[in-house]
Subunit: 192 residues, 2 copies
């Protein structure tokens, strides 16, 4: 009994890493079971189908994100440190072997995904862009950021840049992330 929860958690942890390294179709049950020293059927016991597993991973993604972003996603305070928190989170994920984000991992097969996963993913995107929109609005009011156009669109643009930067980091390594975060700062008129 006491082992069970640990096994389920180990499966999720391993699958989560694999998903954020290789994407939805880039890993198999074997890639999970072998390193954990269990059988494929043990995974099926906890997650009857692969989609059930993916659903659990999206849930896990929420958990990880909210755990890691609670500090900087808090309302109020200065905007620049909140943006820096997003950059730091992205770099940290890269460093611990999770170079792509869940949205990137899902995007290629998005059309074929079940509605449940789509909804969870859409909610995640909405939460993130809502948060960044508020940060940009706050930063503009506080005269910490300067940018043209609507905060919501600028937020999507920054998220797209980070998405793209993570893809480029597969090719060029981590420095491209730091370089492009620097450009985002410059574009926002952050001088320090």
């Amino acid at each position: 009994m006491i082992e069970t929860i640990a096994t389920r958690d180990q499966i999720i942890s391993k699958a989560f890493d694999l998903m954020l390294q290789r994407g939805l179709n880039g890993f198999s049950y074997r890639d999970i079971s072998e390193p954990l020293g269990i059988r494929n059927a043990a995974i099926h016991y906890h997650f009857p189908s692969k989609m059930d597993l993916i659903c659990a991973l999206i849930e896990e993604n929420h958990q990880v994100l909210y755990k890691n972003t609670a500090e900087y996603m808090a309302y109020g305070g200065r905007a620049p440190p909140q943006l820096e928190g997003l950059f730091a989170f992205t770099l940290k994920q890269y460093k611990i072997g999770r170079p792509i984000c869940m949205v990137g991992a899902l995007s290629i097969d998005y059309a074929e995904l079940p509605d449940e996963i789509k909804r969870a993913n859409d909610q995640f995107m909405k939460d993130t862009s809502d948060w960044l929109t508020r940060v940009l609005e706050t930063g503009r009011e506080q005269k910490e950021f300067t940018f043209q156009g609507e905060p919501r669109i600028k937020a999507m643009s920054i998220l797209a840049t980070i998405q793209g930067a993570r893809q480029l980091a597969r090719i060029y390594g981590m420095t491209i992330l730091e370089t492009l975060f620097g450009q985002i700062r410059l574009d926002l008129g952050i001088t320090s």
Copy 2:
């Protein structure tokens, strides 16, 4: 004999579409052979291994790009229309069922790719970023663009944004592309 060239071209054309829809591991020989009414072995005849096919697709990507970009990639002239050419090309590709670019299709498995493919891909990225860097330099000299920092880094940042935008377009549809191109224009101080 006369049919042969057509078959090889049909394989490349079909595989190219599939690659830019589903990525490197998102399609099989069957996905190519069935719609063309040929056998898998016919593909193996023209491309002994899948990697041979991928190499040919990268070559095809060069051809398509240079064919489509000859006008706007020409040296000289005003910078804004050249940038618009890149936006128009990206939108066109999306419309004809090629939502992701070759770099995006390869990036997820980049580490495992043979050196030949890596080199070809790196050269492609270099050509593209060199070109965009020149466009930005020209635009700044002509006082058509305003932006902070080095043109090379700003160019990478724009390419990253487009990459990310294409991913987001899988979820939100084509409008997000146009919206984010609009933001890139605003960020470059293009008012018209």
